[in-house]
């Protein structure tokens, strides 16, 4: 593409033009590059959260152990949960959504490419804000207690790593009033509340983008019921985000004003209600569970048909079950609060509502089994993780049903039984699904295959380590191991199984080392994948690997579900696929045209402004944390100015420079409207 030196009259900066190097990544609006950045950031935090978990596990491997101080332990479990949910699983899903959604629906990018870059940079700087608490945060004894000499043990008391104790330690759930201004003063929990607020903003922006992308950017003929299931689950998840994030945003603002400006929404001694926080948190927090699990469910719904060489069994049932789970997910939040003293009527109602979620979940599991039944199953690492997903997620789903049995939940809640349950769902479910997707779609990113032998080793180590880690937590919890417990007494009899758990955690760590080695090795030297390495079914494989910048060289016309498969195969009278005579020709032509487009292709232009806005947002939040000082007030003004100026710059900058000649769809118009909202 030739660059013109001419600067359009409306623009402040010269439009960025780098195609390689740091600036190209900072200014990119390419959904694939944004997806890659999300992916690496998510994996980085997976490792960080994992190291936090290993430290916790060392502490718990002995009764009355004193490896970590109590303060360090509490901070680590808070940050482990916060990291894994908001800085690992959600951005990991976002990586797949960003990279794959346009490819799956046959588009050249998402609906609002600059907005997409904004989501990423807000996430990036939000994550930095959150983790800067390790450097800047403070965690002090309850208000008034400072006066009592010697209340805090010297050096944090028995144990080491006490320097970690100055990070958020109110739990990822931030229950009030413990995480409020009286019982956890200091700035650490403000970093937590502000960090979540910023990360929520990022996801909210993404959700709008994905919804509009699915509804407006599908290729010709790609009816909604011809969309791959992952595209469907992305859309459903985006709606969940859209409706649930405003709730946590409000709740976090209430906490922030409680902590910073004395609003006392949740302070009981002033007439506030600590249980209100739980309602608000879980009204977001339970849909969040489905925000975590639905995208990986979509991934395995792509992987299983590919490696069983059969269409997804009951496609429409799987799609509607996903939507039903999302819908019901908004009506079950109080099952997190069965022991909080809500009335028996409320407990019964939420218990019953929770049970109903098992029905669409069951539909999904049985349809996956139906997909595998009668197939020709190839045990690639992607497929192993997908099959592992079914088995492990089934355990997590069934232990979820035992939570809906309200009286049983009175025994289970706040014990390790719950920790076991949600790790079977989030790790055995979501993380297995995400790894399945990584092995499956790695060629789209690198043009190569991840090593299969190492991949199988990775799977089996993960599978064994995972079950050693989390299965014993079921019976540990029911036999008296409460959650968030720094120490347990020897009389509680919990030591033996806790050692098994800790050993399992280290096996998982080993599995991740194998995976990272495989990634590093295969990215440069792996087997070259070619265009269609899995003999796949969906249209993302109709373009070469690695994916060209413009995704598809020609506009597609979709005629059926699994369109790509039907281009290659027809069915004999028994319903078995027979490869078309011209299949190889079709593939060769697609690969050639993908790499050598016949006509110039218009792509949205890169922009500085998403990065700049992303940079400005956390400055405002730093300012709020330190608002009592002049520096804090200055930071608020500075951050606000950066955001405002960048938004104006964004507003008057065309989505694509005229010389790109990009006028074949109405992307620009749509983007302008959204910019106004953010300006």
């Amino acid at each position: 593409m030739t660059a013109t030196a001419e600067r359009p009259a409306t623009s402040i900066f010269r439009r960025p033009r780098s195609k390689t190097g740091l600036w190209s990544w900072i200014t990119t609006v390419d959904h694939k590059r944004i997806g890659i950045m999300y992916g690496y950031a998510a994996f980085f935090f997976f490792i960080v959260g994992g190291i936090e978990a290993l430290l916790l596990r060392i502490q718990l491997s002995q009764a009355n152990a004193e490896f970590l101080t109590a303060g360090a332990y509490n901070a680590l479990f808070t940050m482990h949960g916060t990291t894994m949910v908001f800085l690992f699983v959600m951005p990991a899903s976002a990586a797949f959504m960003n990279y794959m959604l346009p490819l799956l629906v046959g588009a050249r990018d998402v609906a609002f490419p600059r907005l997409n870059a904004l989501s990423w940079w807000v996430f990036f700087f939000g994550a930095i804000f959150m983790y800067s608490t390790f450097f800047f945060g403070t965690s002090l004894p309850p208000a008034g207690v400072e006066g009592v000499a010697g209340n805090l043990p010297e050096g944090g008391g028995p144990g080491s790593f006490n320097w970690l104790a100055n990070s958020p330690d109110g739990g990822w759930f931030g229950y009030q009033p413990n995480a409020g201004p009286f019982y956890t003063p200091g700035t650490a929990m403000d970093f937590w509340a502000g960090g979540l607020q910023i990360l929520g903003l990022s996801s909210l922006v993404s959700s709008v983008n994905f919804i509009v992308t699915t509804f407006n950017m599908r290729a010709k003929g790609m009816k909604l019921m011809r969309m791959p299931v992952f595209a469907w689950m992305t859309t459903v998840t985006a709606f969940l985000l859209l409706f649930s994030l405003p709730i946590i945003a409000v709740a976090l603002f209430m906490v922030t004003t409680d902590r910073q400006f004395g609003s006392l929404f949740f302070a009981a001694q002033n007439g506030g209600d600590p249980i209100l926080w739980q309602h608000l948190f879980w009204l977001f927090g339970h849909p969040e569970v489905y925000i975590i699990i639905l995208p990986p469910m979509g991934i395995v719904s792509e992987v299983m048909p590919a490696f069983a060489r059969k269409p997804l069994f009951g496609y429409s049932a799987v799609v509607f079950a996903g939507a039903a789970i999302a819908f019901l997910g908004f009506g079950v939040w109080a099952h997190h609060m069965f022991s909080s003293g809500i009335t028996p009527v409320a407990q019964a109602a939420f218990g019953l509502a929770t049970m109903t979620i098992a029905i669409p979940t069951g539909i999904k599991i049985f349809n996956w089994l139906g997909t595998l039944w009668g197939g020709r199953i190839r045990f690639t690492p992607a497929m192993l993780f997908a099959i592992g997903f079914i088995a492990m997620f089934t355990i997590g789903g069934l232990s979820g049903v035992t939570h809906s049995i309200v009286p049983a939940d009175w025994q289970e809640t706040d014990t390790y039984y719950v920790v076991a349950h949600f790790h079977y769902v989030i790790f055995g479910g979501a993380v297995f699904g995400l790894f399945s997707g990584l092995y499956y779609w790695f060629p789209k990113y690198s043009g190569r295959l991840l090593d299969e032998k190492l991949g199988k080793l990775h799977f089996w180590l993960t599978f064994i380590g995972f079950n050693m880690t989390f299965a014993p937590m079921h019976w540990l919890g029911l036999q008296g191991m409460v959650r968030r417990t720094w120490k347990y007494a020897p009389e509680m009899g919990l030591e033996g199984w806790n050692q098994v758990v800790t050993a399992g955690a280290f096996i998982i760590a080993l599995a991740m080392l194998v995976f990272m080695y495989n990634w590093r090795k295969s990215r440069r030297r792996g087997t070259v994948a070619g265009m269609d390495p899995w003999d796949a079914r969906t249209i993302e494989w109709m373009t070469p690997n690695p994916t060209p910048e413009h995704n598809f060289s020609e506009s597609l016309e979709i005629t059926s579900l699994d369109h790509f498969w039907h281009m290659k195969y027809e069915e004999d009278e028994e319903g078995r696929p027979v490869r078309r005579a011209d299949a190889d020709e079709i593939l060769a032509r697609l690969e050639d045209i993908g790499n050598n487009p016949r006509e110039p292709i218009h792509l949205p232009s890169p922009s500085f402004f998403p990065f700049l806005i992303g940079l400005g947002v956390p400055l405002i939040f730093y300012g709020i944390v330190y608002h009592t000082s002049l520096v804090g007030k200055g930071l608020i003004v500075l951050g606000a100015l950066i955001v405002l100026a960048s938004a104006i710059g964004w507003g008057i900058e065309p989505a694509d420079e005229p010389h790109y000649g990009h006028d074949d769809h109405d992307e620009e118009h749509g983007e302008e409207e959204v910019v106004e909202v953010h300006g």
Binding site: P142, N151, Y315, P344, I395, R484, A489, E574, R576
Partner: protein
Amino acid sequence: MAKSGRLGRVLTLLGLALLLGACSLVEIEDAALTSWKPAGPNAERIDDLFWMVFNIAAGVFAFVVVALIVIVVRFRDRSGAKEPKQLHGNARLEVVWTVIPALILATIAVPTVQSVFDLTGCDPDSMRIQLTGHQWWFEVQYPDYGIDTANVVVIPAGEEACLEMTSDDVLHNFWAPALHGKRYLVPGQFTELRLESYEPGEFWAHCAEYCGLSHSLMRARVLALAPADFQAWVEAQQQPAVLPAEGTQAWEGYQVFVNKGCTQCHSYRVDGEGGNIVPADAFNGPDLTHFASRNVFAGAVLPEYGESREDALRRWLADPPSVKPGSYMPNLALTAEEIDNLIVFLEESR
């Protein structure tokens, strides 16, 4: 087909055998806080419900996993295998696997809802015990008897006692798994939990909601006594303490107690001159009048396993926050002699 049917049956039996074996393997003997040894009607009802649902869930799991194993073995890719038929679904099957789970859930929903209502709240005539959560100990008061004690909830066996619970600071969650499930202690609100034990016995309890720095060190005991013993206990608790004779070591300990700041937080009901000690401080600690009648202290964390109460007290009085991080009881910089005297005084406070 017949072959795979046999395979399925063998795998199912194997799975069930494994499950039964696993259940006995994972049961921890003498787990002090287990929910698997219900000792009263409420916990027993929950236990029955849990195992009923567990067995159904285990059956569903066995079905799914056996099906999964059969499928991946039978339909694995083999050289020369035919291409699979391109089945898109089956409406009848969809109905079946929607309706059957719904029926199973409806079956377990009935006893669930029944027991929610049956197990909530208290009999209006049952004995009231006020349980107040503090960071990090439980205050136990008997309004009918004028008793104020800590960390050990004493109830008569074979009768229902009603805990009326609230919190003085953050959320706590009282859990005595042998007797009932959990219930929050909420600042500014009152919750109820009924406790009943079939037989006399001592049961562990724990705060289950994260409540700050030393959440893991907030435990309690429930002591169920035979009705006659319970009456004797009530009468003993109602007695004020008898001050130690002047010149004894206990008397020296009492002087430490009065003069070194203990009385800013701890109350002590005295018979005779000197009068009752009732601190007005915001950080009230446990009443120590009958300290030695309780087998545990400091949130039922001390004495630790195998430790004598004297040793535990010595450790605790020397530096409470090093035993319980964040403890509101500060290090009072007592000398070894003062600690020894205090221990004798406290040990005589029966």
